[in-house]
């Protein structure tokens, strides 16, 4: 089982965009209130602009549904290991939209196209390339779609980065375990024999070493994960 640092790094970090109409924004700026018009779907180009807010990363947009009950089941497998999906996901701008995006008046409704609404889709930041998925897709199909968008958006090579990251996560797990053990032992020695006990001194040294190694591994992981976006075409 992954340890705390790896779990934090593998955490799928969602963005939850909420559209604020110009009327509402003006209210806040001008400190007044007035009646708001009915909710209206934005044109698809404007919807992409609202969602991305100039973020050039490819998009992974998931709409929640009552069946999923707030889980990420449409993205993450309930049967297989999800680490590769989670690691690939870090290079996407992950957007989660509420169930009522299915209403044709929802500001972001048009992101999902005019045909049958996909459960999630992957897209380039401007929507010029879109891969719709129904939520029941196989993990292989999902990875294939993610790879396609990643290759389109980033300079190579995300697969190599992914392999290195997996190794670093294993290393971080080992360091976390060691740190937990040493810290617990140090606490125990301090509380039973006092802070000046000979064992406390050696444990402190070991703990310092493990913490330094952990910092190094974290920095290495950060460097390895930092893919460069391709320059925008003129």
């Amino acid at each position: 089982m992954r340890q705390r640092t790896s779990r934090e790094l593998l955490n799928v970090s969602w963005d939850y965009p909420v559209y604020v109409s110009e009327t509402e924004a003006a209210e806040v700026a001008g400190n007044y209130s007035r009646a708001r018009g009915p909710r209206k779907a934005l044109p698809v180009e404007k919807a992409y602009l609202e969602i991305t807010q100039e973020d050039q990363r490819p998009l992974l947009v998931l709409r929640e549904c009552d069946a999923c009950e707030g889980t990420d089941d449409a993205l993450l497998s309930t049967r297989f290991d999800n680490e590769k999906t989670m690691l690939k996901a870090q290079w996407f701008h992950l957007v989660k939209l509420p169930t009522h995006v299915t209403d044709d008046s929802h500001p972001f409704h048009n992101l999902f196209g005019e045909q049958e609404m996909p459960h999630l889709f992957l897209a380039s930041h401007d929507g010029s390339r879109v891969v719709p998925l129904d939520g029941g897709q196989s993990q292989t199909d999902l990875w294939h779609a993610m790879d396609e968008l990643l290759e389109h958006a980033y300079l190579p090579d995300h697969e190599r980065s992914l392999k290195k990251q997996l190794k670093l996560l294993d290393a971080l797990d080992g360091l976390d375990e060691e740190e937990n053990r040493l810290a617990a032992d140090l606490d125990d020695v301090i509380e039973k024999k006092g802070p000046k006990a000979p064992k406390a001194k050696s444990l402190r040294k070991k703990l310092e070493r493990v913490r330094a190694e952990r910092e190094e591994a974290l920095a290495a992981r950060h460097d390895v994960a930092a893919l460069k976006l391709k320059p925008a075409a003129d």
Binding site: M1, R2, Q3, R4, T5, R7, E8, N11, W14, D15, Y16, P17, V18, V20, E27, V28, N31, S33, R39, E64, G70, T71, L76, N82, K96, P98, T99, H100, D103, L175, D176, E179, N180, A183, A184, D187, I190, E191, K192, K193, G194, P195, R211, R214
Partner: protein, 420 residues
């Protein structure tokens, strides 16, 4: 539980009296029975009061939906932002509460504690079954309303104050001196509580109505109406590897911990922070009163360690005191920076407050009152002034200086705490 749950810190608010007045005038309360669209929105009817005004009053409630909530948004706005969700809304004497929590099956290990709470609730809501094993959305909201009001009453008692001691208008100094800018412990607006079933709901609310980007919980101040918000989330951060949702006990502990922060910060109107030991130590003390095995931390340095394993704090403190290995009061009580707190510092904060509370909660209330004391709301003491006030107040209230605090506390720990 999420051991390292770091709820966003509350940012300082500045008084804006005219804005609050405008807000009060704009608010147009209706009772739940008057809510629009009741027939089409059956979840709006509370099965325990049936939205009858007399039953609401007996329960100590002022209204259900619709409720004016935070700055420039009401209950209907929140429901829309969250995704047109079905929410339960309750406005009590001191809180405005919104909940998306779904039905919950009480676990065996928490059955007794929740049964006691249901028994207390049934005194005001006779339709509540004292032995209910499934907590429906409305019943959960009632429980949180009860918990919040109890925490408020307990805090106010500790301060030795009552509702009528606080000003009803801004810029008022009453018989008991300056006590803030409004009737809710000194805040002009009621305390706000949001209970989210899903992280995405918290994320959407935070994004829309606060400057925070957090889907695991929020503490925030709405400057315009002068209300402090607490948002808690039932869904865990790492749901795939363990149970996806927190237990009722975990959430109750989170509430006790984080509400303590908001109440303490809000007392006499939130414009500055007290030294961290006061709020965090008292928050630990109150959270552990609910269930000592579920601990929350506003911040801890050791990200790599699984702190949830360590909940039996008495022997830890006892051992450290025995070997004279602890941060002295002079240093521990002078911290304002959360970033300096390590796990063992957190344990020590709790123990210091544990000791002072053993000398009488009212004395600790006096200490908070002294720290928050000023002549008007526009005066914001510097950290140096606060530390000088703190040292003088400890001497005056407890009869010892900071070195004496160390000695008295260490003696008490050795005598009171288990060694293993």
């Amino acid at each position: 539980m999420e051991a390292g749950l770091a709820l966003a810190r509350v940012s300082a608010a500045r008084p804006r009296p005219w804005v609050a007045l405008l807000f009060v005038l704009l608010a147009c309360p209706l009772t739940g029975a008057q809510a629009d669209g009741d027939e089409e929105e059956p979840w709006r009817e509370d099965p325990f009061t049936r939205n009858e005004p007399a039953a609401l009053a007996a329960a100590g409630y002022e209204r259900f939906h619709p409720i004016e909530f935070g700055d420039r948004h009401g209950s209907r706005d929140v429901e829309e932002v969250l995704g047109d969700v079905e929410m339960v809304w309750i406005e009590t004497e001191h809180f405005r509460i919104g909940s998306t929590l779904t039905s919950y099956k009480v676990r065996n290990e928490e059955k007794k504690r929740i049964a006691e709470e249901l028994k207390a609730l049934a005194e005001h809501l006779p339709r509540v079954k004292k032995n209910a094993r499934t907590l429906e959305p409305w019943l959960r909201a009632h429980l949180y309303a009860q918990r919040a009001e109890q925490a408020y009453a307990q805090f106010q008692d500790m301060l030795g104050l009552q509702d009528q001691d606080f000003p009803t208008e801004r810029n008022t100094v009453g018989e008991r001196g300056y006590l803030g800018e409004g009737p809710y412990l000194g805040q002009p607006g009621k305390f706000l509580l949001l209970l989210f079933e899903k992280r995405s709901e918290c994320g959407r609310y935070a994004k829309r109505y606060t400057d925070l980007d957090n889907d695991t919980g929020i503490r925030h101040t709405f400057e315009r109406q002068g209300s402090l918000l607490l948002g808690l989330v039932a869904e865990r951060k790492h749901g795939k590897d363990e149970q996806a949702f927190k237990s009722e006990t975990e959430l109750a502990c989170e509430l006790a911990f984080n509400l303590t922060h908001n109440l303490a910060n809000g007392f006499t109107y939130y414009t500055f922070s007290m030294p961290v030991w006061i709020t965090e130590g008292l928050a630990h003390y109150n959270g552990r009163q609910v269930f000592e095995e579920e601990n929350n931390f506003t911040f801890v340095q050791e990200l790599g360690q699984d702190l949830t394993v360590e909940w039996d704090w008495e022997p830890k403190v006892h051992g450290r005191v025995r070997h004279d290995f602890y941060p002295p009061a002079e240093e521990l009580l002078s911290r304002f920076d959360w970033g300096t707190l390590k796990f063992n510092d957190q344990v020590m904060l709790w123990s210091r407050v544990d000791y002072l509370m053993s000398l009488g909660p009212e004395k600790f209330g006096q200490l908070i009152r002294r720290l928050k004391q000023r002549e008007t709301g526009s005066i914001v003491p510097t950290p140096e002034q606060l530390l000088a006030t703190q040292a003088a107040a400890i001497q005056e209230i407890y009869g010892f200086d900071l070195a004496g605090f160390d000695e008295a506390w260490a003696r008490w720990v050795t005598k009171t705490y288990r060694s293993k």
